[in-house]
Structures are given as C-alpha cells and as structure tokens.
Symmetry: D3
Subunit: 211 residues, 6 copies
C-alpha cells in the first residue's frame, strides 16, 4: 500500500487501518510513503504530480503481489496498472464498489467542496453515477481534521444528511485517513460505513489468496 | 456460505474454492447446503423457490457475522438482508463488483443461454450495464460440465470470444461451481478471471475483520 | 387479476376499480385473492412469500387469457411469466409505462418511505430512471389510509409536491387499493393520475382482443 | 385515430386493425385520414409537414375523448398534446411501451434503413434505449409491401434475426399498416409481436374508460 | 443565421452578437428573419409552425456554406439538415456542446418555466442529461426582458443558484437574444457563460474554414 | 496549441492543419512542441508523463487567451485548467463534441487497438457513450502512417466500416496528425469527418472572440 502523499503520519494511520486484515498466513501488508509526494493531495496538480513517481515505485517493486494506491483520487491507477503484471487497486474504486455490495445507493463524505467535481467525474468514468445518492463535504481545514473529536462530530452530521436527505444506504469515507472513525460513525448512523483503504486491502487479499 | 441448491457436491466444491481464504486468525468459513433447494438453480422458479428458505436459514443463524448466498442468480439476497443485521453478500454482485476493480469492461461466462436475460435484468438493476462487454453461454449440459477437461476447453473458447470480440478486460465465471477452472482459464486468457464465490468471501472477510 | 395479499376488502376494491373496463363483448375480468398471501405486502419478505403461490395459481389456471398481479411490488412477475404461455402483467410495470404515455416525467405516491428503495431498484431494473421525477411517501398507517377523506387530502398534498417541486407531469398511485381516489386527485392536480391496476387491465384487454 | 398520410387504404387498414377493440359499450373508434398529409410519411420533411395540420384537426375536434396519431414517427405528438385537454397517444410510443410490458428487451422491424436513425433518436428522447435489442429494416419498396405474402415472409426473416442475433424478447412492428401480419408473425417467432396502432388504441380505451 | 421568429429586433440583436466572429477573410455572416415566423417562439406550436418554412428557406439558399437556426428550441433542425448538403447548426445543441468543453456540468437559464420540459426532452434526445446540473427559469414577461438592467440582475440571481445550489461549472443562456448580457454575467458569476448563437456561429465558421 | 509530444514534424502538421483558421483580425495561433514530451503519446505512461510539464507551460504563458492540448488522449487537460484562468481545450473532447453537432452517432478512427479502452473510459467520463456508434483501429505502425497514401486508403476502409456496420453518421479522426486526410476521407465516405485539432481551435477562437 502506497501513500501518495509524503505525510508519514498518514502512512502510520494506514498501517493501523489495515492491521485487522493482517493474517499470519496471509500476505504481508507493507505501507509505504511516496517521499516525492506533496504533503497532502488536495488539488488536481497534487494528483498528477504523483502519477509517474507511483509508476516508478510500482515498476521497482518486483516481488509485490498486489498494490494499493491509498489516496481517494486514485492518482496514477491506470499508469501503475500498465507498469506491472500484479493487480493494482485504487481506494476510491474499491471503496465505492464495496459500498455497492452493502446498499442500493451510497453517499460519500468529502473533505472539501472542491474535490467533489473531481470525484463526480471519476464516478461517471466508472459508470456508477446511477447508484450515487449524494456527496457532501466536511469543509474542514487540515488543522481541524487533525483533532479527532470535532471531525467525528462533523462526519456524523454530514452522514445523517446523506442518509436522511439524499437516501444513502451506505457511506464511503472519501479520504485515506479516516479509518479510526469508521466504527463509531457506523454505530451512530445505523448504516454500513466503508473505509476505502480497508476495502481495497480486502480486495487485494482476496485476489492474492486465490492465485 | 449457503449453497441454495441441494447438491452436496457443489457445496463441497465451495469448501475447496474458499479454502485459500481460511486464515487461522480469520473468520471460520462454513459452507452449508440448503436442503430444501432444487438440485440446481436453472430457472426463475428454482430461484424463487429458495428465497424464503434462505431467509429462514439466515434468521436462525444468530451468531453468524456475514452471509454469502452462493448462486449466480443471487436468489433471496434482499429478503435475506431484511432478516438480519449481519451483512449478506450475493456471489453475482460480488463477482461483478470485483471484476470492475480489475478492468474497464468485463465479460460473463454463463452456463446456458436462457440464464442470460435474467443476468442482464439483474445487471441493469445494479446499474452496471455500461461496463458489460458481453455475456456468452457455454451451452453445456450438466453432465458435460461435470467432466472437467471439456468444460475448461469450452470456457477457454468462450473466454477468448469475450476478450477478443467483445473487448472484455476481465472475466466473471457466471456459476458457483467453477472455481477449480479459474487459474488455468486466467493463464490461458491472459486477463483476470473472477470466481464469484471467492470474490464474495473476500468481501465478507474484509467486512468482518474491521468491525 | 390476482390480489397477492389475503385482504378480501382489497380484492373487492380491485373489482370496483376495473368495473369500467368490463365490456359485455370483452374478456371477463375475474379478481381473486391469494389466500396464502399476507394481509398486506409491506416488506420484502411479504413480497417473496407470494411468488411461488402466485406461480402455482397461474399454472393451475389453464383457461385464463391474461394475468394481472395486483401489487405495486410486482411480486413473482417473472416466475409467473415462466409458468404460462399467457401474458402476465404487473401493476407497477403497467402503471409506470402508462404514465410514460402521458407525460415526460412521472412521480410516484408511495404509502411508506421504506418501500421507496425497493421501487427505485425496480425502476432501475426496468431502465426507466431517466423519466422519474420523484417518489414521495404518504407515510400513513394502514388504519389512516382506511379512512378515505384524510387519505385523499394527503395524496393531494404529496401529489402537489411531486408536480411543483419535482416536476412530475403525471402521477402513478404506488399501491393497489387507491383507485377510488384517482379521479378526484387528477381533478385537483390538473395532471394525469394513473391507477396501476386499471393500467394493467387495459393492457391485458388490449393484448387479449387482438389475439 | 388520425392517419397522418393521405392514403385512404392505410386508414381502412387501421379500421380493420382496431376492430377487435371496438366494444358496444366502449368508446366509438373513428379512423380519419389527414387529407393534407403526404401519400406516405417516409422522410423528416413528410413528418414535419403534418404537425400543424394535425394540431388543427385536434383543436377542431371538441368532443373527442382521446386521440391517436397513427404514424410510427409520432409526428406532431407534443404539439397536438398542447392543443387539447384530451389525451393524445402516439403509436410508436405506445407500441414500445406495450412491448416493455411483455419482454425485457424488444426489437423493431423498420420499413427502411433510413428511418432507423430517426427512430433511435426518438427512443433516446424517451429514455428507453437500455431496453432496445435492435432495429432492422425490411428494406422493401412500397410496391413490394403492398403484396402481403412476400412482406410477411420478409418480416419473419427479420424478426428471427432480431430474436436470435439481437436477443429481442418481443417485436414492435415499426409501421402503421402491418396489423394483419401481427398474428402470423407472432406464431412463427414464438415471442410477442406488437402492432403499435392496436397498442395505442388499447391505452386510449383504458384512459377513457376510467375517467 | 436564420431567426425563426419575425421579430426584426431579435435579428438585429443576432447581428450584434456575432459581430466579433466576422473576419474579413472569414465567411460572411448573414442574419435573416423568417418572416412567416411568430413574433416569438414560446410554445410547441410556435416551434412546429416554423419547421417547414425553415426547410424552404434552406432549400432556396443554394450558395450558403452553413446554416444556423437561431432559436433555443432548435426548431426544424433535422428537417433542415435533410434539405441541404451544407451543415446546419442549432443554437441549443451548439450552446450545450460548447459548455461541455468548459466545465463538467452545466446549467441553463430559461426564460419561462414552461420551456423547461421541452428542453429536458431535447437534452435527453441528445444523450447529454448526465452533464446537466440544472435548468432554472427567469420567469419574466417579454416586456420585462426588454428592459436590460432588470434582466441582467435576474440572470445573475438565477446563475448564482445554478452555480451554488446545482453545482453548474458553466452556464448556457437558453435564449437567442441575450448575448449582450454574456460578458457581465460571466464576470459576476466567475464561471464561463455561453451565448448559444455565438457558439453555433463559431462551430459553423470552424466547419466552413476547413472545407 | 501545444503538441505534447516532442516530434516537431507533428507540430508542423498542426500548423498546417489550423492555417485555414488563422484570420488577420483573429487571434494569433501559435503551435509549440512540448520538448519534454515523448516522441509520440502511445501509452498511459506517455500520457501521464506530460501532464505536469503541460501545467508548467500553461502557467508560464501569461498572455495566452486560450490553450489547446493537441493529443487525442487529452493529457493534463484538467490540471492545465486548474493552472490558468484562460480556457483550455482538449482535442479529443472538442472533436467529439463537434461531431455531435453534425450527426446523431459518431465513429472514431483510432491508430491502435490498445488506445481504444483508454478512449472508451474517457468517453464514459464525458457521459457521451450513448452517441458512440463505434471505434475501430487502423492498426498501422508509425512508419506506415508516415506514408500518406496507404494511410488514407486504410482510413477509408475503416471509415466505411464505422459508417456501414456501426451506423456512424460522422467520423472523428482519433489522432492529432491526420488533418491532411480529412477532406479526401470526407469526400469518399459522404459523411462529415472531424479533425479534432481544427475542432478545438475553432472552439478556442469562438471563445476568445466574444470576450
């Protein structure tokens, strides 16, 4: 699993997020930081700036059975796939697909309003718009999201809007670093909440196991 | 995992199929036969006849963390979901969603021509028709499919048509009992081949692990 | 016409609803109650529980020229079709198709919120979502709907929202037992209102007449 | 029912086609010829040339309970609707909607190749493309279609292609004057065949009956 | 460029609108009034009434390299195309297509509420509904729109709703006579605003230039 | 107009292609080569490798009124748009949108089979799949395409298949360097043929002119 941003704290969060999926007999899950990446992937420029570095990292990793790109914009997904015979999973794609196995229509919690057009464009590319109930932003600063409690509180409020106003039957957390809020959010909302990094790793494990 | 048909040999095949996903620290995977089911689910009547028995079985299984309904028509999926707070996965849904994480457009190998309208209707219900490259039938009798070699040979021929004529980038095996052919078929075709029972169990494990 | 619930009062209402379509030279319209059915079809379990009994009833009725399943979830429609060479009409399907001949986009009045996801899933299966303006619930108890005046009042309010807020140009009454409200509702709203049982019977008559 | 072309023989064919739907207690069905119309509606110009004359005819007919425009291009449908409070049915729309109540995907038999883009554009306008299996032309001259036997023979051949190659489960005859071939074609193909004029009249009767 | 209504002031507005696209070496842009047209195209009847006159005008203009029909309902577009080998552009079609080159989702400012269903039907015919953010009406009388200032003020208010509430990234002015407001509206809203007559002429010039 | 590959001959071809759109009073059209680019953009890696260099070039060009990215994969389109307040046009997007103003369904001539999935994915992202008749590859080597005559011959053959087998009413040349074949191809096929670089420049000129 590659964290395309250079924030090592995010990578550590990924390690915690996928710990429950680490089985002694299963594949080893290694979370790495893309040191060339920006501190956070917030713009289209950030997303584009990591695609070739991700490709290089994938090409250099000869003995990896599957890759996960851990950014909700799935940057470099197709170029990484072109560079390896191992499967490559994007967390946005995996998160949404996993939500579709849990409810008829899903909602997405985005960090910022400005990411939503990019996400919608990507959902349209995936041909999955008919199942989208809605996407709503937390609209919090990075500093604010760092403080856990206020973030959870805000996610619950946004999640309720997605459920009650938009008719979402499941929620995808539209960011790589929110896994610790998944369980409390699910308990509050009463509908499935998907952490996309966990969803992608589960798919990767399933693929590796049956080779 | 519940086999909705009463053919115990199919259930034994399921056990073999998901063996690679059984981890000592992971959830125990139990494959059961729906004794009330028909010997095979080949018609709409067969599919409808198992929905309420599946619901009863799900309701009675209080300590199960996740269910998988192991028939490519996903019979009773929604009524089973209504009867439990645990997640319920259908193998057709999971198989197709997993294929979407591997290629832009997927093909389906059906056993019989007559199943295809039912599958198409279901894909339309899931809103996933835009990603379907095509579905083609083996058109083999049950007796013929029982003999492994001829089946694999036929699957390779059909898989090649899906890949070369229809443009499929991944193949979903549209039946519960074909897992042993997955790997040889994938090697022959050179594109990912998804066994839907394995795909559903991987999704179930991923859901259970992160509770 | 088969009422899949065991509420004989609903069946009697169906008889009244289709009386205007009974011509001396036309086909005889017989409304029967599925005695094995639940008192009302309100859940997925209710819907699934009647599919095989409906199939049996259809198979046993050898001299029937066309069948209508009179429940807005169209339970057992496909399995009934598989069991007879006579055409089988579902009232939800017929009601929506008839609305499409009257306006560009249609609205649906549902009894309860919880039916809406099931209806949406079915509309997606039919490939008709692009024409849906919206679906809104009466959210009344069975006891309340039994009292006609309050029901009509509520239907008018909901119908106005579908017309004015959602842009519906025609309304489908999303239930088998509302035919007596059709005309007053249409007069109040000023747009076509479709009773789905009447729509299905009209289609059935048209099919039988031209054999 | 208005025949937008000035060919009185076609109007006479319409009268025969809807005879089975004429009930003593039902609405009187009057078939009229649009004398201003072209001898046949074969081009976009033909279709556009009849829209205002149809509007005038509809406006002048104050005591008509419902109108049917009997040309498979549904010329003037929306402008006619704007000019009357009575419902107006187009045979293409009604024919396709009726086919959707009989099978998952339908095929259309067109007279000429050059009509197909116009029909496809119209199906897209109706939002019904997801249910189209295919449209294929007879490619016969008017003189040839006048001779019944060769026409039926050709319709059977085209119908078989729609059924076997395109997967159509029902056939719509894409022309106003083919009703007499409906039954023999249906018997040959073994799937429902819809005459669009009969479909539209059945919908009109159903609407009038329940006022 | 043909103004299908007989209001010469509108034609004069068109001349002003396309002045910036008149190059000495480029094609001469001639704006003509359809004298047979209604004073304004506000109803379906108005739209249908000009189709054959437009066809005649196009047929008579033998030395014209490209035609533009300057009414946001694109009346007679297909029948005009059938009558000439020169390309024919409709301003609604060109305006929307040009907006798609500027933003992911577009909004439309309509003059009146009653035009919106007609526009939606047309967008569905073009297969472009997935990119529509919303359409909202000015709901002004002709007299009111004649007074420029109030019109601009109202367009800004409606444009803000399309941008902020519906998520439009570009705006199409849904009328032929608003070009003088394009620039100020764009400056106020901060997103691209498309005048459809200018968009159509630009496409026409591009087509002529490369012959 | 920026040629994202480093092949100066292609850039020279672009200059010739857009010469007919250079008006003395119009905007100056400058065609530049992205010197950092690969010799040709044939893979996803090639496409991704030019996105950030294109962004830098766009950011550095302060006095440019509009940009055109001249590669049929539209690499870096969104990241370039994020980096400038001037409009940025991609030739694939502009070419397809322009084709939609000429015919109901369009076909695309690709150079290589392997580009087709990338193009399909992009068409799905644009929400324009409903208008695609088909895409077919020339399947020629770079050396072969360099020789003009054989290329045109092959394009005519492929164009005929798109027109006759797939039903395309217009053709988009799916490459930046084919402009010289546009006119002869159009004459041979008898339907509009769009050179995407000319289409994009026409849109850019239209946008600049009306500022």
């Amino acid at each position: 699993m590659i964290n395309p941003n250079s924030n090592e704290a995010v990578t550590e969060g990924l390690r915690q997020a996928v710990l429950p999926l680490s089985y002694a007999e299963g594949p080893e899950i290694v979370c790495e930081t893309l040191t060339e990446g920006p501190f956070g992937v917030e713009t289209q420029e950030h997303a584009e700036s990591v695609t070739i570095p991700l490709r290089r990292k994938v090409e250099a990793a000869n003995d990896v059975d599957a890759f996960v790109i851990a950014c909700y914009s799935d940057p470099g997904l197709h170029v990484a796939r072109e560079g390896t015979t191992s499967p490559v999973f994007g967390i946005a794609e995996s998160g949404v697909l996993t939500a579709l196995a849990r409810a008829d229509r899903f909602g997405v919690i985005a960090i910022k309003t400005r990411s939503i057009p990019r996400h919608i464009r990507y959902l349209r590319q995936m041909g999955l718009m008919d199942r989208l109930a809605g996407e709503r932003p937390l609209e919090m600063s990075v500093a604010e999201t760092a403080s856990g409690d206020r973030t959870l509180e805000r996610m619950i409020a946004i999640g309720r809007e997605l459920k009650d106003k938009d008719g979402a039957g499941a929620i995808v957390m539209g960011c790589a670093g929110m896994a610790r809020h998944r369980r409390p959010l699910e308990l509050e909302l009463g509908i499935p909440v998907i952490d996309p990094t966990q969803a992608a790793v589960a798919m990767a494990i399933g693929t590796i196991a049956v080779r």
